[in-house]
């Protein structure tokens, strides 16, 4: 990646900048901005001001400090979940395409079954059984449920790539099957996999916030979803002065997802050498 790549893709560059800014804010920010936990009855639902850029919530706490502290878990769960689902999809999809025959049939049957299970009701049930006390557990569950669509896409890509001439040439040079998958075929789908990874992150964010909002995940810790849930249940949407406290986490989520999606635009140029210069 270089400056020309960014210059030619203002949208992608903006997305990348936005994403980096959010990462900086939620990872470095908590070290600088202390979390405001003190209840101040005289400051309830204060309008944005110099002291409180996003106003205060129903207990008079600073909304900005909650935003700064509420993104890390969300980002961690999204990254881990997307990492798990993308890895499963790439592994199973390429095995299925290359092995063919019974292995392919078996894997695709499993994929179709998982694909047909309605996710949200299942998550709701799992939330009841497993309690989701740890963020990592939540990430694993989200990841393990969301690989099937990408698996089918990866399988289709590998099926088409393995018929390409350079794969035949590699076989003729005595490169093994594993080598051909890992070194010849997968590098040709890097941008596709990277874009899918980012889209999987946005879905994981949505799923998490949804679970929190529905109260299916314990409202522990600091999290933009938890903020929305509190704002909603405390009736923050009904008053002009209180609306900032619920709008702030919503905007944070929207900006994060928007920056992720626009950032994905430059992946094609980063990973495809043909598009890199000229």
């Amino acid at each position: 990646m270089n400056w020309t790549t960014l210059k030619r893709n203002p949208g992608g560059a903006l997305g990348l900048a936005g994403f980096l800014a959010i990462v900086l804010l939620v990872i470095v920010g908590p070290l600088v901005v202390p979390l405001d936990t003190s209840t101040r009855l005289d400051q309830i639902y204060a309008a944005p001001s110099r002291a409180h850029p996003f106003g205060t919530d129903n207990q008079g706490r600073d909304v900005f400090s909650q935003i700064v502290h509420g993104g890390k878990d969300l980002l961690w769960v999204a990254t881990l979940a997307a990492g798990i689902s993308t890895s499963i999809a790439v592994a199973l999809g390429s095995i299925s395409a290359v092995a063919g025959g019974h292995v392919d049939n078996a894997l695709m049957t499993v994929t179709d079954v998982v694909l047909t299970v309605p996710h949200f009701p299942l998550l709701a049930v799992l939330a009841g059984v497993l309690q989701f006390r740890s963020q990592t557990l939540l990430a694993i569950i989200l990841g393990v449920l969301s690989w099937p669509a990408l698996t089918r896409a990866v399988r289709a890509q590998v099926l088409s790539l393995k018929e390409r001439d350079f794969v035949e040439a590699a076989t003729a040079l005595g490169l093994g099957r594993g080598h051909i998958i890992v070194r010849e075929i997968l590098p040709n789908m890097r941008s596709y996999v990277a874009i899918s990874f980012v889209l999987a992150m946005t879905q994981a964010i949505y799923a998490q916030v949804g679970l929190v909002f529905l109260g299916l995940v314990p409202l522990s810790g600091q999290n933009w979803g938890v903020m929305i849930q509190y704002g909603w249940t405390r009736g923050a949407i009904f008053h002009k002065s209180s609306v900032y406290s619920i709008l702030a986490p919503i905007m944070a989520i929207v900006l994060l997802k928007l920056s992720l999606v626009s950032m994905a635009r430059i992946f094609d140029e980063i990973f495809n050498p043909r598009l890199q210069e000229g």
Binding site: A170, T171, A172, P273
Partner: protein, 335 residues
């Protein structure tokens, strides 16, 4: 030129398809000797590519081998290529026999730098010393008149067609194979680049010493490069002999037909003749000699039995009952 490297014995290969079974190769016998260049010529669908792919056992899944053997002679032993296990087959490909494909332009992985492709190939065959690989690669590329440093750090799309073809040749020679199989090595290139590749192939063979088998429907390439030429028709070798014998005294009507279809540079302006009819349907071969429906020499006997390769002189054989009557065109200056 007596030691055989690859011996093909009674090899038949069939493709199963919807409409039945297509006989791509029928009882082919062929030897590739040490240090020789053998050209295979024939129309599309005559079995040339199937034969080449069979030597590396790279036939498509629909192919099956009802009979025959492919023997590779190594250290005085004959290895049956068709029964090699997966790992030994992998080592055999590239180390003993390498192949350069028709589609050399798309035979390089578009997202890997050239150097990585050389490195991967050497490593897959047990060479771990990077400096050694680099030296060998640079040596090969220089022989192929490429600037090693510029080429090695490039991606395939940054090279021209002729350069990519030369890189493919270097890659094929990297592991010092004893046999190189080339499928239409110059088809996709312009005439001047073809010239360069032909000259390079000659000098490489002298320098590195390997046997070459190439497929072509370009007769001038065969005339120029090959020591021996085999004509294939409907899955069989119908004529085989030294290059000069085949071009000056062809003894099979099909070889004659191929020669007549090529313009000469010198001599009279003669009318080009194409071979009437079209190649036979490999699922329903005509009875007797499969060429008889298109053959100007055909007689009733030709429809009854298929001739074997009949001996004309030492090494020159033709699968025609009436080879004695067959006369070639005046191709004196074809090359």
């Amino acid at each position: 030129m007596t030691e055989s490297l690859v011996s093909i014995r009674d090899l038949s290969i069939a493709y199963r398809g919807r409409g039945g079974t297509a006989q791509a190769l029928r009882e082919v016998n062929l030897d590739l000797y040490r240090d020789e260049t053998l050209g295979l010529i024939g129309e599309s669908g005559s079995g040339k590519t199937t034969l080449a792919l069979a030597i590396l056992r790279m036939l498509p899944p629909a192919a099956h081998v009802p009979q025959g053997q492919i023997l590779y002679h190594q250290d005085g032993r004959a290895v049956d290529v068709l029964s090699l296990d997966a790992e030994r087959l992998r080592r055999y490909r590239g180390e003993q026999v390498a192949m350069v494909f028709q589609s050399a332009l798309s035979s390089l992985n578009p997202v890997l730098r050239i150097w990585d492709q050389f490195l991967d190939t050497a490593r897959a065959h047990g060479e771990t010393d990077q400096a050694k690989i680099r030296a060998r690669t640079r040596d090969l590329l220089s022989h192929l008149q490429l600037e090693p440093e510029r080429v090695l750090s490039a991606f395939p799309h940054e090279l021209s067609g002729g350069m990519r073809q030369r890189v493919m040749l270097a890659l094929a020679l990297l592991l010092r194979p004893r046999v190189v199989v080339l499928d239409e090595p110059t088809t996709a290139l312009d005439i001047l680049t073809q010239r360069t590749i032909i000259d390079l192939l000659r000098s490489l063979r002298q320098e590195f010493g390997f046997s070459m088998m190439f497929i072509s429907h370009d007769l001038s390439l065969a005339a120029e490069l090959a020591d021996r030429v085999a004509t294939m028709y409907a899955g069989r070798i119908v004529e085989i002999g030294r290059t000069d014998e085949l071009f000056y005294e062809p003894r099979h009507p099909y070889t004659v037909g191929l020669l007549q279809a090529v313009p000469t540079i010198h001599g009279d302006h003669r009318t080009l003749q194409s071979i009437p009819g079209s190649p036979p349907d490999l699922q329903r071969l005509p009875p007797g000699c499969p060429f008889h429906p298109r053959c100007p020499y055909a007689r009733p006997a030709c429809a009854e039995a298929e001739p074997d390769l009949l001996r004309i002189s030492d090494g020159h054989r033709s699968a025609c009952f009436f080879w004695d009557e067959v006369r070639g065109p005046d191709v004196g200056k074809i090359a």
